[in-house]
């Protein structure tokens, strides 16, 4: 049993986009704040902080999760992936990201990080998504400016590209 007291900060170590990281966290620190303020990884956005908007969605051990409904201490030992880890290199977009760009699937971009992270996980689980399935996955996110149609269109095209060329960078997970 480990007992982390409220008043002190505790070391939390995990893997972020393939690199080992650590920070000092009070038990009440949210994973979203740990990433943004503790580690400076501000790609993960924060909208509602109660699980509704999806802006903060990250992958924990390959599955999507709300960072605002996760405590930093719960990341201990996990593999975390955020929007910063989607592209194959800092100056290259993933297939899904490039498709979002082509289809104008983002406008202000506030919701985009979370949507990309969710869809990236979903496409690994379901390489042949139907439009209906994608609408349900994207239903876990709120976008207040683009409209969802281009987001779905971009994802369908990215899925097709990924299926036709398995060597594309999105098909390997960090």
């Amino acid at each position: 049993m480990s007992h982390l007291s409220a008043a002190t900060r505790h070391r939390v170590a995990f893997t972020l986009n393939g690199r080992p990281v650590s920070l000092e966290a009070e038990p009440r620190l949210l994973a979203s704040d740990a990433l943004r303020h503790g580690l400076g990884a501000t790609g993960t956005h924060v909208g509602c902080e109660h699980g509704v908007c999806g802006a903060c969605t990250i992958q924990i051990d390959g599955v999507p999760a709300r960072a605002c409904l996760t405590l930093a201490v719960q990341l201990e030992g996990r593999k975390v992936r955020t929007v910063e880890g989607l592209g194959p290199a800092a100056d290259r977009l993933s297939v899904l990201q490039a498709s979002f760009r082509r289809h104008h699937a983002l406008q202000c971009g506030f919701c985009t990080a979370g949507i990309l992270v969710s869809l990236d996980a979903f496409l690994h689980e379901q390489p042949h998504p139907s439009e209906e399935e994608l609408r349900i996955v994207v239903g876990g996110h709120l976008c207040r400016c683009t409209g969802y149609t281009p987001i779905i269109r971009a994802t369908l095209e990215a899925a097709e590209q990924l299926r036709s060329d398995p060597s594309l960078p999105d098909s390997s997970h960090v």
Binding site: M1, S2, H3, L4, S5, A6, A7, E26, P27, R28, L30, D33, C48, E49, H50, G51, G54, T57, I60, V63, P64, A65, R66, C68, L69, T70, L71, V73, Q74, S118, F122, I136, V137, G139, G140, H141
Partner: protein, 275 residues
């Protein structure tokens, strides 16, 4: 929108979790997937002094069959239950309801037992437990006990669980041949809390309909195999007995109307898919 301060205890086994609960009682809350508790903490609707994390307890992620009962332990995530190979034949009601429980992005972490513990009156797991007459297995340092779902849910976010108890598992009876199940809900957005949710179980001699989102807890009513205007009358009486209230999401009148229409559709579907 940040939680108040709390101590965080990682329980390495069940007995450590029970000791901590015994020690801190009403100052402590169990955290499993956190998908119901974390919003409460962030909004400071809950301010426990201690969180006890049970997800590191070995064996707590098991779903097993005990005779004609499916036992779902405290650490089983909703997404994991959805992936159970025989779910649609063993628990067709759960197979139909789980896709409506939260979002793809929250079922990955939220647990089945956590949803029961939270006892939101519009939630799917409490509704299914009541519809199928399932049980909640509670455990404390001093005792273990089993409570029928109908007695476990006491009111809005209030259950029969004592402060030193945790939900060890929830159990559902396996679907019997000749029965039919259906689930339907109306919400503002797929994955949001239901305005009204209906779960129907039809057996060779009865219709059981459970309704969420109207009363302060899920409620079940059983009828003989009625149809036509007799069924409409029975549904109308049930709708009025649920004592619907107006709130931000819907009026009482809309809720009663949904109990009548959605209730009927759900029963119809359950009748049509009898095995």
């Amino acid at each position: 929108m940040k939680p108040a301060a709390f101590d965080f205890i990682r329980a390495g086994n069940l007995s450590e979790a029970l000791d901590a609960l015994g020690q801190y009682g009403s100052d402590a809350r169990i955290i499993a997937g956190g998908q119901s508790l974390m919003p409460m903490l962030n909004m400071r609707l809950a301010k426990p002094a201690v969180l006890i994390d049970v997800m590191g307890i070995p064996g707590l992620d098991a779903v097993r069959r005990e005779g004609d009962t499916i036992v779902i332990s405290a650490g089983v995530r909703q997404a994991a239950l959805m992936q159970r190979p025989n779910l649609a034949s063993e628990l067709p009601l759960l197979a139909a309801a789980l896709p409506w429980l939260g979002h793809y992005q929250t079922r990955t972490r939220g647990t089945v037992c956590g949803s029961a513990a939270h006892a939101d009156p519009s939630a799917e797991i409490p509704l299914c437990l009541v519809a199928l007459d399932g049980e909640v297995r509670l455990r404390s340092r001093k005792r273990s006990r089993r409570v029928k779902a109908g007695d476990f849910f006491v009111g809005m976010m209030v259950t029969d669980k004592a402060d030193d108890e945790l939900i060890e598992a929830v159990t559902f009876p396996v679907s019997k041949p000749g029965s039919g199940h259906a689930f339907k809900e109306v919400a503002r957005r797929h994955g949001d809390f239901a305005i009204v949710g209906c779960a129907a179980l039809v057996t060779p001699d009865a219709i059981h309909l459970a309704v969420a989102g109207v009363a302060d807890k899920p409620q079940r009513r059983s009828f003989p195999l009625l149809d036509g205007s007799a069924l409409s009358d029975a549904l109308n009486a049930f709708a009025w007995d649920l004592d619907a209230r107006d709130d931000y999401h819907a009026t009482a009148r809309l809720r009663r109307d949904l109990v009548r229409s959605l209730g009927r559709d759900t029963i119809k579907e359950a009748l049509s898919c009898r095995t």
